[in-house]
């Protein structure tokens, strides 16, 4: 191709056609800057440049020396370059949004921010998140090194960073003598700092080096701010929720000598993990008072009422120890309006360990499912305990039963979430009392916590992952008597014990 391309008939026609159809403009010049050839794309882009004329001085594009003094220029449209760059930016910002959008945890948002920044935006990055009393936590990385986390005093940071945290809204350049531990590089790294705004206020500051594009940095900071805002809001709300939840969840029963408690609690699927079922046990003179019940309604409203019932019973047991009379007091209290028209079903009882082993139970029933008793011989009895709902009428009738549990025997209370669990292979059949009593036959040897968990598991297995009502189980077992204390042979041997 020694002949100038301006004479196309001397070049391979196919090659010229290839050049003619390129979107990229191509110019060929000689060593004096005279244009020897231009393809149609170059002609469209630079109409004033003609073959034989001079090449413009301000030509922008890729310059390639072809040898023999000839120079080729490959020209892209300015808008092509801009849109390529815009594409890269959009891809990066989309990746940022995708990655940060999945996490609602502030610490992980901060770590991911630094990772993202050094991946495509900056040579090194530092994120400063003020905590309290002039301290801040910070995450930083340089190049491809892993992100490190530190604590710093705000006063030890450069003025530009402090100003940004105090409210300066625009990106600022600054030199940071001694910034190497955070940003790597030279002794005095040159950096930019931008605020991360969450809920309209500076929540953090992002410091970066070798940043190419300030507009992109600011867009990035805005997305980080949105993610940090969501994470901080989530954290604040979940703290409140956890505190409320704590007060609305049943408390573990207080330990009482001679009695073995077991509980299980699985509220209907809800984010708060609370519901309308409740139980509890508190020591009284000579034993313990215990209860399990269910208030009408679901969710937070029902849970608030269970809290009131539990706290009332805890206080009332000090002045009234008879379960039946205690139910009457509770009934009056609910009718007086604390319940907002809600009512409860419950079993309330006292358990008194007997001197020779075993316990005496006195049970009062307020419209609840009858308790079951697991006898030592493996049989399961239903306690005929009747009674009206608690909190519906001002002259209620509550049932009462007394019974004896021999050592190792258990009384089991549960809510209708167990027996009314809908499942089976079609998901439409109720679990029912018959299945429960059959499954419990032979479970008398189980410690109370294992039994309660077993009942919960039976119901959950029956449900097979389907939605369900609140489920609560409460078991009280008379401590079994150990006939012969186990003689432990081998554990007293020397330190070189083989385990098996």
């Amino acid at each position: 191709m020694n002949a100038p391309l301006g004479a196309p008939d001397t070049a391979a026609p196919a090659l010229v056609q290839l050049l003619d159809h390129l979107d990229e403009g191509v110019l060929l010049c000689d060593d004096a800057g005279i244009v020897l050839y231009r393809n149609p794309a170059a002609a469209r882009r630079l109409p004033a440049v003609a073959v034989g004329g001079s090449m413009p001085d301000d030509l922008r594009g890729r310059r390639v020396e072809l040898g023999a003094g000839q120079v080729a220029w490959y020209l892209q449209r300015a808008s092509d370059r801009a849109s390529e760059q815009a594409n890269d930016h959009a891809t990066f910002l989309a990746a940022t949004a995708r990655r940060l959008g999945g996490m609602l945890n502030a610490d992980r948002v901060c770590r991911a921010t630094v990772e993202l920044a050094v991946s495509s935006l900056a040579g090194a990055a530092l994120l400063v998140l003020p905590t309290r009393r002039g301290r801040a936590r910070c995450w930083h990385a340089a190049g491809s090194a892993p992100v490190r986390q530190d604590q710093v005093a705000l006063a030890a940071l450069p003025a530009a960073v402090q100003d940004t945290l105090d409210g300066n809204p625009v990106a600022q350049p600054f030199l940071w003598p001694g910034g190497t531990p955070f940003l790597g590089g030279e002794a005095t790294p040159a950096a930019w700092v931008v605020p991360i705004l969450a809920a309209g206020a500076p929540a953090a500051a992002l410091v970066v080096t070798e940043v190419g594009d300030l507009a992109l940095l600011e867009d990035f900071a805005a997305r980080v701010g949105a993610a940090l805002e969501a994470a901080q809001l989530y954290a604040a709300q979940s703290r409140v929720a956890a505190t409320l939840q704590e007060s609305l969840l049943p408390e573990p029963p207080a330990p009482v000598a001679g009695l073995n408690w077991g509980t299980a609690y699985r509220p209907a699927r809800s984010t708060m993990h609370i519901g309308g079922d409740f139980y509890g046990a508190h020591p009284i003179a000579g034993g313990a008072m215990f209860f399990l019940g269910d208030v009408s309604g679901k969710g937070v409203d029902a849970a608030v009422l269970t809290g009131q019932v539990r706290h009332s019973l805890r206080a009332l047991r000090r002045i009234e120890e008879d379960p039946q009379r205690l139910l009457h007091v509770l009934n009056d209290m609910l009718l007086e309006g604390v319940s907002d028209g809600r009512f409860a079903t419950m079993v309330l009882g006292t358990a008194q360990p007997r001197p020779g082993g075993g316990i005496r139970l006195t049970l009062a029933g307020g419209g609840h499912l009858p308790p079951l008793v697991l006898r030592a011989d493996g049989t399961v009895e239903t306690v005929a305990l009747r009674g009206m709902l608690v909190g519906v009428t001002d002259e209620p009738v509550f049932g009462r039963r007394s019974l004896h549990l021999a050592p190792g025997e258990t009384c089991l209370l549960f809510t209708d979430g167990v027996t009314e669990a809908r499942g089976g292979h079609r998901g439409a059949e109720m679990y029912g009392l018959r299945r429960l009593t059959t499954a419990l036959a032979g479970c008398a040897a189980m410690p109370a916590p294992a039994l309660a968990e077993r009942v919960e598991q039976l119901a959950m297995d029956w449900l097979g992952g389907r939605e369900h009502d609140d489920i609560a189980v409460f078991a009280v077992r008379a401590e079994p008597v150990r006939t012969s204390p186990r003689h432990l042979h081998s554990v007293h041997q020397a330190a070189t014990v083989t385990v098996s």
Binding site: R99, G102, M103, L104, N105, D107, R108, R111, A112, A231, Y234, A235, S238, A242, R269, T271, H273, G424, H425, R426, G427, R434, R435, T438, A439, G442, C443, A444, A445, M446, P447, P449, A450, L451, E453, R454, Q457, M460, D461, G464, G465, P480, R482, R486, L488, H489, S490, V491, H492, Q493, A494, A495, T496, V497, T498, V499, S500
Partner: protein, 331 residues
């Protein structure tokens, strides 16, 4: 009698104090608490499982023994101090009620200096996710012995990835060599020690694998689970016709049979989910042993399988799984 025999005797008698005394005695005599967990409690639990499988122990005995071992594990882990290694959450996958293996993992990690939160049995993925939002943890360890929960495990994998928290899974539900964990793109550890070693290797933990579930594009898994109710009903009717002892079953036995038939579908679906016939044949071998020890001939399993095969004639991948199962039963 070795401490191991002593321990098993305590489990058999539901003697909690005795079991705690055996374990504590070993620690007091200088044995590592981790060794007591891994060489006393864990093998004893495997033994209990085998006794249940052979119908030598009832479910009640198994539960009582497990409860006692859980108490022992809690006692052994008590007093371990976090050494600033980081925070780990340990939980059982939704639907997994056997918490003891996960609890052993939790205590081994605690003894190795991790700050450990144990979320308990059957933790819904949604609860796990909300916990991860609230706490900055370094890793999650999930336990599951049930292969039908692999789809839930896969959801957990995706949720943890979205939250950028590395996840380790373990338990029989992920296959003998963790192959189904790999299929769903999860890190796998064979046991508590393996989990502890993996946690000490952050670079390995951070590598992500997409898994290999492209075969799910045929939609057989979802379509199969939609037909679960029909399949079980038809198989039950077929058993009534072809397996005469079933006519005299009690209500409880009938319930158990229906549950077994549903289990077969669930394991079949799990095999389809990870595209591995061995998941299904392995389950059939195990179920055959459980049934045989309870006086039900393992060959009776062929009856529902043949019915499922007929009903699922337009499910090619599922069909190959059932054929593999039938071939195994005939051997």
């Amino acid at each position: 009698m070795s401490p191991y025999d002593d321990y098993l005797a305590c489990l058999a008698e539901a003697d909690e104090e005795g079991a705690v005394a055996v374990a504590r005695g070993l620690v007091d005599a200088g044995t590592d608490a981790e060794r007591v967990l891994l060489e006393l409690v864990a093998p004893a639990q495997r033994q209990v499982g085998e006794w249940w499988q052979r119908n030598e122990w009832s479910v009640a005995q198994e539960h009582a023994a497990t409860h006692i071992s859980e108490r022992v594990v809690a006692v052994l882990g008590h007093g371990a101090r976090a050494t600033g290694k980081g925070r780990v959450v340990v939980a059982c996958l939704d639907g997994e009620w056997h918490a003891l293996p996960a609890r052993i993992v939790a205590e081994v990690l605690r003894l190795r200096g991790w700050q450990v939160t144990f979320l308990g049995a059957s933790v819904p993925v949604a609860h796990l996710v909300s916990y991860l939002h609230q706490q900055d943890v370094d890793a999650v360890a999930l336990s599951c012995a049930l292969a039908p929960r692999l789809q839930a495990a896969h959801r957990a994998v995706q949720a943890c990835r979205r939250a950028e928290v590395p996840l380790i899974v373990g338990g029989r539900g992920f296959g003998p060599d963790g192959r189904w964990a790999r299929a769903i793109g999860a890190h796998w550890a064979a046991d508590a020690t393996g989990a502890a070693d993996l946690l000490d290797d952050p670079a390995a933990l951070r590598t992500e694998s997409a898994g290999s579930l492209a075969h799910l594009a045929d939609d057989e898994h979802t379509a199969l689970l939609k037909r679960r109710g029909d399949l079980v009903d038809e198989a039950a009717a077929e058993l009534q016709r072809r397996f005469p002892p079933m006519r005299d079953y009690s209500d409880a036995q009938l319930d158990a049979t229906m549950a077994d038939l549903a289990h077969i579908v669930d394991f079949l679906a799990a095999a389809v989910y990870v595209d591995d016939p061995e998941l299904f044949t392995g389950f059939l071998a195990w179920t055959g042993e459980v049934l045989a020890s309870r006086g039900v001939p393992a060959a009776s399993l062929a009856i529902p399988l043949e019915r499922y095969r007929g009903m699922l004639y337009d499910f090619p991948r599922t069909g190959t799984m059932i054929d593999a199962g039938l071939a195994q039963l005939r051997r």
